[in-house]
């Protein structure tokens, strides 16, 4: 069985509202895939359809080639944390994991293993109602790992966590992916995925905006631009324009150069004897790349929002 999630032409409507619209993507094994979109973009709805909880109005979602509802011991195929607070407050953490293990015929030792894995050993005997958000997230992650599944899915796992918790989850997801698992993690903030995800699926208003590797996205957003600081702005612009670059003045002694690498800019300036005091390659942040990607979707949302009223 393959460790993948395949979403094919998935569609979900609530009355006149289209929550997910012809959405297709694949979550591949061995990497962390970030599932990004603004609030209300349809991330949670998509995840619920993957879990067989909500019925799609069209298309399909397959776990390792099978629909969720046909899985016999689903916790061994896919582990998911959709809502960390979905625990009965009067139940002890260990008992919560115990009934989950029983429901899938998992050996009782797994309960202790995932408690250790999630760093819950000291809290396992306590009732979940008294847990902090961070502890509930850990309990949810422990539950997702019970069946040691090849596919993992987390809905906003770092939402509301302190920096320490964010670092812990990021490292955990990375190590899980490094074992060859497919990991899907949703977030409405691109910054949460910075340094955490290898691949991105970006959606807005239920539609796919981008399905790309993080590196490529950044490269596209950065656009090979070089920032140059020089007292001889006019000379520099003339020289570089002659060398084939697109140049624009971005300040009294600053020039933005596009179409040339930093090395070629330096070589051209040195050849013409134009001095400069600083040069840097521009690197877009994931956030900037995301803003650029979703700008259209957000604008469209604004227009649609006005029409709806």
């Amino acid at each position: 069985m393959e460790a993948t999630i395949e979403v094919r032409a998935l569609r979900k409507t609530y009355g006149p509202t289209v929550a997910v619209d012809d959405l297709s993507f694949t979550v591949a094994p061995g990497q962390v895939t970030g599932f990004v979109g603004p609030n209300g973009a349809g991330k949670s709805t998509t995840m619920r359809m993957i879990m067989g909880l909500d019925r799609p109005d069209g298309g399909s979602a397959l776990i390792g080639g099978k629909p969720y509802r046909s899985l016999r011991a689903p916790l061994c195929r896919i582990g998911a944390m959709l809502d960390a607070s979905a625990v009965h407050p009067a139940r002890r953490a260990r008992d919560h994991l115990r009934w989950l293990a029983q429901a899938n015929g998992l050996p009782a030792r797994r309960v202790d293993e995932v408690i250790d894995l999630a760093g819950l050993a000291s809290a396992a005997g306590r009732r979940a109602g008294g847990f902090s958000l961070g502890m509930r997230q850990r309990l949810g992650i422990a539950a997702a790992l019970l069946g040691d599944p090849p596919v993992l899915m987390f809905d906003e796992p770092v939402n509301g966590l302190d920096p320490e918790g964010i670092t812990w989850i990021r490292a955990l997801l990375r190590s899980l992916a490094a074992e060859g698992r497919a990991v899907l993690m949703s977030s409405h903030l691109m910054s949460e995925l910075e340094g955490g995800a290898d691949h991105l699926v970006v959606i807005g208003r239920g539609r796919l905006i981008a399905d790309t590797a993080v590196g490529e996205l950044l490269k596209a957003a950065s656009g090979d631009r070089v920032e140059l600081r020089t007292a001889q702005r006019q000379d520099a612009m003339a020289v570089l324009a002659r060398a084939g670059a697109t140049v624009s003045a971005s300040g009294p002694d600053e020039v933005t150069v596009a179409g040339l690498t930093a090395e070629r800019v330096i070589a051209a300036l040195n050849g013409a004897g134009v001095g400069f005091t600083g040069i840097s390659e521009h690197r877009a942040t994931l956030e900037e790349a995301y803003m650029e990607l979703t700008r259209d979707a957000v604008e469209f949302q604004g227009v649609a929002g006005r029409e709806a009223r």
């Binding site: 061995g30 016999r72 916790l75 061994c76 115990r98 029983q102 015929g105 998992l106 090849p150 060859g180």
Partner: protein, 479 residues
């Protein structure tokens, strides 16, 4: 992009796809919420408490002889009986010349029975002022015969083996067969004689919240002549069985007088079914009306607590097949209620018994089939109510409405039925889930709406219908 071998789970599920593991998981869920277990305990405590209260509040009120055997409670065997031994096959003939008092169902006639012990089998041929000539047996009303014949009337009752056949005649020559009954285990040496009996005058007043039954003993009398028993036993004297003593044994209403082959019998009380018998088993188990509230709340919360917290998604993620999940929840809720019900109903009977004895009442015999049916049936009743509650909770998804709906369906028919005419009340008790409480009845009373097992069946049908609707919704709806 790096290509690497997909991860393979190192955990293999133990049992392959067993339903048992779902049951175990649902039981763990129930067991690990302390207040749910307390609720279960509360249902037991409430039921036993009500049993003790009702035992403390009830006292013996004379008539009935103290027996609490439901079969015995159902039978009234009073009136006046004047008899001789009857050895082997034979017959008794007499003419009822006059009948006085007691209304349309006053009875005067002949009776063959194996023993004068109360509530033993008999065959009685009688003339009545309003219902003709009848052959009755088995402490049941009606009987073979009918017509409009009144006293004076000739009656003949013959015994052949275990068959007893009745005949009537206007003149003692042309006999017409009324009917025949079989008295199993009728001993070789039986008794044959004359009797008078009469049903009490009973008035039932029904109002919201309850009913009051007031009975006045009626009395009747009849004159017999031309009495002959064959084969005749030389020197056999007539003996009497009258009222069981106490104020009713007033010679003015109970006794035998007469001479020269004429007998005048006076008596009070009926021979037939007791439709107003106290159902002491049902009274002892009446706590189920309160105990069920805790069971309903528990069974509903097992479902709605999951809906409220989004936990149902976790549950459905772990067991995606809706039908099995619903079945597991219903079975676990049902079994938990059954266990609580068994403890509560046996506890009620056993703990109430000493109090009933000290109040002069004989506690219902637990080993009697009918009593046992009521005791086990009470536990089964709670189990089905729990299943019904689970189903309604899945349909409604919210605690307060679900609990209200179930309790209203179970309680309201019983409350408003008392304020409705009996015929309407009967249908209400037959067609609503409240019919299930019939399983607790150990005596057949005048107002019985439905026989115990049928009533239980009605409740089961409701539970199954609700389960079917719940299954359909659970499959269709987004979780």
């Amino acid at each position: 992009m790096t290509v690497m071998a997909p991860y393979r789970s190192t955990v293999e599920p133990e049992a392959r796809d067993g339903f048992g593991r779902l049951l175990l998981a649902e039981w763990t869920k129930l067991r690990t919420v302390p207040r749910w277990m307390l609720t279960l305990l509360a249902s037991v405590v409430l039921m036993v408490l009500v049993a003790l209260l009702s035992a403390a509040g009830s006292e013996s009120t004379g008539q009935g002889g103290g027996s609490s055997d439901p079969a015995r409670l159902q039978k009234i065997d009073l009136g006046h009986y004047t008899y001789q031994p009857l050895a082997g096959d034979g017959e008794i003939i007499a003419r009822v010349t006059a009948q006085r008092g007691g209304g349309a169902w006053a009875k005067a006639g002949l009776m063959i029975r194996g023993s004068v012990e109360r509530a033993t089998p008999y065959a009685a041929l009688m003339v009545t002022p309003g219902h003709g000539v009848r052959l009755q047996t088995g402490y049941e009303n009606g009987g073979a015969g009918g017509g409009t014949a009144k006293a004076p009337r000739w009656l003949k009752l013959t015994r052949s083996g275990t068959a007893v056949t009745g005949y009537e005649s206007p003149d003692g020559r042309a006999w017409q067969r009324v009917g025949s009954v079989r008295l199993d285990k009728l001993p070789e040496n039986a008794m044959a004689g004359m009797f008078v009996a009469v049903p009490d005058e009973v008035e039932v007043q029904r109002q919201f919240g309850g009913e009051s039954v007031s009975g006045n003993p009626a009395d009747t009398g009849a004159r017999f002549d031309q009495v002959s028993v064959s084969p005749a036993q030389p020197g056999a004297a007539w003996r009497d069985r009258g009222a069981p003593g106490g104020p009713a044994a007033d010679p003015g209403v109970d006794g035998r007088t007469g001479s020269d082959g004429t007998f005048t019998l006076k008596g009070t009380g009926d021979i037939g079914p007791n439709e107003f018998a106290d159902d002491s088993t049902k009274t002892t188990l009446t706590g189920v009306l309160i105990g069920q509230a805790a069971i309903v709340a528990l069974a509903v919360l097992m479902v709605t607590a999951e809906y409220r917290r989004g936990m149902l998604r976790t549950t459905l993620a772990a067991s995606p097949r809706r039908g099995r999940l619903l079945a597991a929840k219903a079975i676990v809720a049902g079994l938990a209620a059954l266990a609580a019900g068994l403890v509560a109903s046996f506890g009620s009977m056993l703990l109430a018994a000493p109090m009933q004895r000290s109040n002069g009442l004989e506690p219902p015999p637990l080993m009697d089939g009918t009593v046992l049916r009521a005791v086990l049936g009470t536990a089964a009743l709670l189990a089905v109510i729990a299943v019904f509650s689970v189903a309604v909770a899945v349909i409604v998804r919210r605690s307060a409405p679900a609990i209200t709906i179930v309790l209203l369906l179970l309680l309201v028919p019983q409350i408003i039925a008392t304020g409705l005419p009996l015929s309407v009340a009967r249908w209400l008790d037959r067609l609503t889930p409240a019919a299930g409480f019939a399983i607790q009845e150990t005596v057949t009373r005048f107002d019985q709406a439905i026989v115990p097992w049928a009533g239980f069946g009605v409740l089961c049908a409701y539970a199954l219908a609700a389960l079917a609707a719940a299954y359909w919704l659970l499959r269709r709806r987004d979780a």
